[in-house]
């Protein structure tokens, strides 16, 4: 176990390194880094302006732009050599300095701090919805395997897995918010309860397709587990069927679901970009999309790095979670 842990930790560090390096490359090697950071301001001839050799129609504006450019150079260490630049940039990231949006002169960490809670609430609710739907669904499907309910649910899950997130969101928005008006059509933040309530529809949009894939995995694993002797033993002990399902068969059947749980967080994050857009939730996803469209690259890069690193760490934790799920792993 200790050796395994060390191996996983080394891999974790290596992947974090690679992920940040990819982000760094996107900024530094895909086009001019300064242009990526500040946009057209990069094309100002600041030295000329400083020296007064270049006349500009609005000198004040140009001067302040040039200050911004200088700030950007310092912020992203653009005057240093590439390897040094990378090291400095990564240590900035690690210490929570996510860079600066030069379009609205805001530190990205502040933007993240403002927008992150909404996205986290959405993601957590989506996972709750998907597990809450998938576990009973999978248990009943496996308990009545190949009966009418199971067959129907196979078709249903196949259908759900074929609906793109954004399409499902639009359909649910139309049906539940506009047509039947059960849920609000847009984000509300006045009260916590109202906030949670307005998040239900987005969470269902994200969670439902996930529930379908969880259900399929859980059902398959459960059917295998139900053939095990210890399930027979539990029946011979006279325990009722549902107790056996939930107390004995469920936990050893959760491996695939737990595996996908970490991975699906990635799909959920991707989905949240879309869903936040549909339901007007001011979260990280909406922020990054807006930033891409505004060409506000520092924000894009910082959020991508944050998300990717979180994702890597989540998958690392999921791996550790296995040892709780199957105590045999601990001594292996």
């Amino acid at each position: 176990m200790a050796r395994y842990l060390v191996k996983r930790l080394v891999l974790l560090v290596a992947v974090l390194f690679a992920v940040t390096f990819l982000g760094f490359s996107a900024m530094n090697f895909l086009g001019d880094p300064l242009f990526n950071v500040v946009g057209v301001m990069a094309e100002l001839d600041c030295e000329g302006i400083e020296a007064g050799t270049v006349e500009d129609t609005s000198m004040d504006r140009a001067r302040s732009d040039c200050e911004t450019v200088a700030e950007a150079r310092a912020e992203y260490h653009l005057d240093r050599s590439v390897p040094v630049r990378y090291v400095l940039w990564v240590s900035d990231l690690a210490t929570g300095d996510l860079g600066t949006s030069f379009q609205n002169d805001q530190p990205v960490s502040q933007i993240v701090r403002e927008k992150l809670p909404e996205t986290l609430i959405l993601l957590v609710m989506a996972q709750i919805v998907s597990l809450g739907v998938a576990i009973p669904w999978g248990v009943i499907a496996a308990y009545r395997a190949n009966r009418a309910f199971d067959r129907g649910s196979t078709v249903a899950s196949f259908g759900l897995l074929s609906v793109p997130n954004f399409a499902l969101g639009v359909v649910l928005l139309y049906l539940f918010a506009l047509r039947w008006q059960i849920f609000p059509s847009a984000y509300e933040s006045e009260t916590t309860l109202g906030l949670l309530f307005s998040m239900i529809l987005p969470a269902v949009t994200l969670g439902l397709p996930l529930a379908a894939s969880y259900q399929r995995l859980l059902r398959t694993d459960l059917i295998t587990t139900l053939q095990e002797d210890f399930v027979h033993m539990a029946r011979a002990k006279g325990l009722p069927a549902m107790r056996i399902m939930f107390r004995h068969a469920l936990r050893p059947s959760m491996f695939s679901v737990v595996t996908v749980f970490g991975v699906s967080t990635g799909a959920l994050i991707g989905g949240s970009l879309v869903v936040e857009q549909i339901f007007g939730i001011p979260g990280i996803g909406r922020e990054i999309v807006t930033a891409v469209i505004r060409d506000d690259f520092p924000v894009v890069l910082a959020i991508v790095m944050l998300v990717a690193c979180t994702f890597v760490v989540i998958n690392f934790l999921v791996d550790l979670f296995y040892s709780w799920l199957d105590p045999r792993v601990r001594t292996r």
Binding site: V163, V289, V292
Partner: protein
């Protein structure tokens, strides 16, 4: 991922975890069934039936492919013609799917929208198969450091949520058809590559490969003549499933306004977001719902036909 020699149980488990990401684990499980040297897999080929639903799906896909190839030549309205009809007209005989806010013909736009979706989807999966498949085969055949390196690259690629990686790429480059296709192609490298690597590992230990090696065949010849044909089958069986993922990815990008730029670049995702404003959705539901329906049917057809093909080429099917 540690991948030296025969995969350890844990190595295999974590690889399987990765594969599950793309819902192809069922294929891998059954592929593992007859172990190398286990022999008669021909005897176990069962259930060679595709069924009615499969052909229905194929017909739909062929129709979509036809439309997207020949859309400009078909007697459709000009999809970019503003005020082809009045704004937000309901479906009628003139405009089957009605018109959108700018009075453009939704039917013509939906048909034209198939072009980008299918082009991107097709290109992406071919790109993934060539690049990812090639990397996977080489890694699985040569093992050792190459395998470790390639495995790491796949692992890193999978460490980004797909859409987030796509955004990082499209944020820095101009959003042309080629860039969008390449972006989604890059996303498909890792899953396809892992599959190719896993199948290569199985076949590289089979007798016919050993025989070729004993006969003094060079590595290149073994890879092309002996391994490639066997690895292409499982990869090919997943083409349609991969395309479904790619089509959805392109749709998502388009929905966010990050797919191919320009007014004449019509895409389902873009059409759906156009019709998804609250007022539009309330008063002229058809603008969003027709592209939603066509896109859903297309993805469903790709998934269904893909799943059938996967089962068809499977040596064994899981009992359910």
């Amino acid at each position: 991922m540690s991948a030296r020699g025969r995969p350890s149980r844990r190595g295999r488990a974590s690889r399987q975890r990765l594969l599950q990401r793309f819902r192809i684990v069922r294929l891998m499980r059954s592929r593992r069934g007859p172990e190398p040297g286990g022999g008669s897999e021909e005897a176990e080929v069962v259930r060679r039936r595709l069924g009615f639903g499969f052909w229905l799906a194929v017909i739909w896909l062929l129709a979509m492919a036809f439309v997207s190839l020949f859309a400009p030549m078909l007697p459709l309205a000009d999809p970019t013609e503003v005020a082809f009809g009045g704004p937000r007209e309901s479906p009628s005989l003139d405009a089957w799917f009605g018109t959108d806010a700018l009075g453009r013909d939704v039917f013509a736009r939906t048909m034209h929208g198939a072009r980008i979706s299918l082009a991107v989807g097709g290109f992406a999966i071919v790109f993934g198969m060539v690049v990812g498949g090639g990397m996977g085969i080489l890694a699985g055949y040569y093992r050792g450091r190459l395998d470790q390196g390639v495995g790491f690259v796949f692992f890193v690629l999978l460490s980004f949520p797909a859409l987030v990686l796509a955004i990082l790429i499209t944020a820095t480059l101009e959003r042309s058809l080629l860039v969008v296709s390449l972006t989604i192609g890059i996303l498909s490298i890792a899953p396809v590559g892992l599959l190719a690597r896993a199948s290569t590992l199985v076949y590289a230990e089979r007798e016919f490969v050993a025989a070729a090696r004993v006969l003094g065949a060079r590595h290149g010849r073994i890879i092309v003549r002996e391994l490639l044909p066997n690895v292409v089958i499982p990869m090919g069986a997943l083409t349609l499933l991969g395309m479904a993922v790619a089509v959805v990815a392109e749709g998502s990008l388009a929905f966010l306004g990050l797919s191919v730029a320009g007014d004449d670049a019509i895409s389902w995702g873009k059409m759906i977001v156009d019709g998804a404003g609250l007022r539009d959705l309330q008063n002229s539901t058809h603008v969003a719902m027709f592209p939603v329906a066509v896109m859903f049917l297309t993805v469903l057809a790709l998934n269904f036909a893909g799943d059938r093909i996967r089962q068809y080429f499977d040596v064994k099917e899981l009992p359910f």
